[in-house]
Amino acid sequence: MNGFAGFVLRRIAGAVITLFVLSVIIYVVFYVTPGNVAQITCGPRCSPVQVHQVAQQLQLDDPLYVRYWHFLQGLFAGQDFSTGTSVEHCPAPCLGQSYQTGRQVTDIILTKLPVSFSLVLGAMVIWLVLGVGTGVLSAWRRGRLSERVLTAITLAGVATPVFVIGLVLMIVVCGELQLLPFPQYVNFTDDPEQWAWSLLLPWLSLALIEAANFARLTRASMLETLAEDHIRTFRAYGVGERAVIARHALRGATASVIALNAVTFGSAVGGAVLTETLFGLPGIGQELVHAVKVVDLPVVVGMVLVIGFFVVLANAVADVLYAVADRRVVLA
């Protein structure tokens, strides 16, 4: 499996470079964004003296490259922070300390990631079932009414922004019909059942906007496969239409569905900002948007790197899965 090992190595190397460049870009971009960090941290009524003290304490007066160097040091060697009363060590990989709250970025990320994962994992199940299901049906009942309706529904998902879907869902399901309590995030570790209930609506809303892509992809690849010669072979050998669809046509679609799924997952972990915001899920996306607004550079860089990591990872995984699902393909 030398080819595979080589592929993994190349991908890792690529990912490292990508993330490195990404961090530089973010540093530069946020270096030039307006917003006096020290003033924001200190509060608008802070006197110049005070602001200066804060700036020193956060090492904001250092030139850009020095600050970036500190960032790299923290990443590979760890860093020490003063709480005022004591000094505490932040072991490598240390992404630094939030300007706003003084918390360690790694801690923040670790508290936020489970939430984002809970959201995306659950949504994934739904969008797969909904999307692939729709895709199969519409490929099978091509041109019939049932297909049009299904397609319309999934498209409605794409067309309607999640903050609309989500809010309306909540108002109707929780407010007017009172079928569910309003979602209120609960840690899985605290109460798995409540966790699931609390995430049901977020899952639905997120899944609804993704499902259409899967439906489209499934349908397209199935139609493509149905046009292939080997389908003709099995028809010519008296294999029933159901079996042809289920065994052969659908099988042909799996490779690309898997690939799409990996990528969707990767980008949703950090990308479900609106969903998280609307449902008050303390996830990566929401925190990141907040951090950007208050120019909390360490948090932004840390989170962007984590998100970037997941995207890159997802894409690599997509390739592997793709190759596994479709043996004709060799990774290169």
């Binding site: 072979t233 099995f234 079996a243 099988r251 043996r327 060799v330």
Partner: protein
């Protein structure tokens, strides 16, 4: 009663009438060959026998009875029972005809279980059994491989195995060997023959190749434009064709015996390859497609390059025209080493479809070399192009037409015209006729010959069809696995081949005379296990 009873069959796709009032019958255990050029509707007939046109919008008229089932009247259920169980079909392209995602054994087992109520395990066992029967070595293990891990020949065997799975009374083979090399083709044809002898099933063979028909059928039915032209016992029809068209067809078939006449060969060397080697892939995965090959082409001379798929003949051709750089060795043009493309050395491609840009008028395509040379005067360009069009036997009015409006043969002529536009001294023809019907083949070959005489072109003629090569070549190079097996004057190579491989190749060429074919077959009969696929024969996956 007979196995197949077709009366007054007509099949229409929209306006096109593919089959027009065709009637024939096939007795139990008999073998009938449907022969015809592309568009004669022969494959459509094959499909009709299994009712494959249902739900495709094709209109089917007349009646078709197969193994007692009235295909027209049968319910979907009855049809399914017929398909595979009593009449099985073997398709042309074994790669695309098998599901790439499942192990071959499983695919056969699946089909088997559709028709017989047996356990998964039993079906799997049956699959291995039939695979063994069709001569897949180590069937138990190989049954777990997927199609792309099989060579072309093995795949075709697998398809036949699938057909055998339910012991059908009728085997319908649609161009079963068209995609295969001659040697493999011979093996497959032998296999079909053996199976018939053994199981006594009927065979309906659909092919464009009269030779193939001669090899493996008792009766022959020549088709044209969806109608039957002539029918009768193979021997009789081939020996003394009653119809003009049949005769035409037969004359067009190139004979390995036919030597080349009146070559304008000189000894001025135009194109020369010395010890060229070309590798694909890097590091561990690198393999040589061409290895240490040296050839020379003189003015007015034709070098024929023969070899089976994967022998590296195309790679050699592309190096000669400079589309590929040799990894080692050098290409010399008129004595001077040349790298990169050179208008004086042109190429005619195999696939008439992909060799012309579908979005540009053929005139424009032909004008390319002129414009590239810096010609700006539209008048002269148009003049020259129409001149060329007419030269290759097309109409000056074709200038503004698009490729899809032309037949395969015409497109190949356009390709030639484009090559000529560059006023080349050498043209490399990569399988120029292998995608064409025999009659068209003959015309194109003739055209190339004329042009060569006129312009004293040096030609390199790459093909897998030995007969065609002999027809046109002065020198012949036989290639195998990237290396030159035998290289010399055509007559020597063909009449007294030194290398066993060359002999094997020649022996595999289908003969038009059934008796000869039978004798050859006897001679060829070697233990099935020996027919292992050559490694490079497996389709590579980048």
């Amino acid at each position: 009663m007979s196995l197949v009873e077709v009366t007054d069959l007509t099949v229409e796709f929209g306006a096109l009438r593919a089959v027009d009032g065709l009637s024939f019958s096939l007795a139990e255990g008999a073998a009938l060959a449907l022969v015809g050029e592309s568009g004669s509707g022969k494959s459509t007939v094959a499909g009709a026998l299994l009712g494959l046109h249902r739900g495709t919008g094709a209109r089917v008229g007349g009646s078709v009875r197969v193994a007692g089932t009235d295909v027209q009247a049968a319910s979907d259920e009855e049809l399914r029972m017929l398909r595979g169980a009593r009449a099985a079909m073997v398709f042309q392209d074994p790669l695309s005809s098998l599901d790439p995602y499942y192990a071959i054994g499983d695919q056969i087992a699946e089909v088997h279980r559709v028709h017989t109520r047996v356990s998964r395990r039993a079906a799997r066992a049956r699959a291995v059994e039939v695979l063994e029967r069709v001569g897949i070595p180590d069937a138990q293990r190989r049954s777990r491989s997927r199609p792309h891990e099989f060579s072309g020949g093995m795949r075709q065997r697998a398809l036949i195995a699938m057909a055998l799975a339910c012991e059908p009374d009728l085997l319908i083979a649609d161009e079963p060997t068209t995609a295969l090399d001659v040697t493999v083709q011979a093996q497959i044809l032998d296999l079909l023959h053996a199976l018939r002898a053994e199981t006594g099933m009927g065979l309906l063979l659909v092919t464009h190749d009269v030779g193939v028909a001669a090899e493996s059928a008792d009766d022959i039915l020549v088709m044209r434009h969806g109608r039957a032209v002539e029918r009768g016992p193979v021997g009789a029809v081939l020996a003394a064709p009653a119809e003009a068209y049949t005769r035409e067809l037969l004359d067009a078939v190139p004979r390995v015996g036919a030597r080349r006449t009146g070559s304008p060969a000189t000894d001025e060397v135009v194109l020369e390859a010395t010890g060229v080697r070309r590798e694909f892939g890097r590091g561990k995965r690198a393999f040589p497609a061409v290895d240490d090959v040296s050839v020379t082409v003189r003015r007015g001379e034709t070098l024929g390059v023969v070899g089976e798929s994967g022998s590296g003949k195309t790679t050699l051709g592309r190096m000669l025209v400079g589309l590929l750089e040799p990894t080692a060795g050098e290409i010399r043009y008129a004595g001077r080493p040349h790298t990169g493309v050179n208008p004086a050395v042109q190429m005619v491609f195999q696939d008439p479809v992909s060799s012309l840009n579908p979005r540009r008028s053929v005139g424009e395509s032909i004008a390319d070399p002129l414009r590239a040379r810096g010609e700006r005067d539209e008048e002269r360009i148009r003049g020259r192009v129409t001149e060329l069009l007419e030269r290759v036997g097309l109409d000056r009015a074709h200038y503004d037409r698009y490729p899809h409006e032309f037949s395969g043969g015409q497109r190949q002529r356009i390709g030639i015209a484009r090559a000529l536009a560059a006023e080349p001294r050498a043209i490399v023809c990569d399988e120029p006729v292998s995608a064409l019907d025999v009659t068209t083949q003959a015309q194109v070959v003739a055209l190339l010959g004329e042009l060569q005489r006129e312009l004293g072109l040096a030609l390199v003629f790459i093909a897998h069809d030995l007969a065609v090569v002999r027809q046109v070549s002065d020198q012949v190079a036989v290639m195998r696995r990237g290396r030159l097996v035998e290289y010399g004057p055509a007559d020597e190579v063909y009449d007294s081949p030194r290398e066993p491989y060359t002999r094997q190749l020649l022996a595999a060429v289908p003969a038009l005379d059934p008796e000869l074919a039978a004798r050859r077959r006897a001679a060829r009969r070697t233990p099935v296990a020996a027919q292992r696929p050559a490694p490079e024969e497996r389709t590579r996956v980048a």
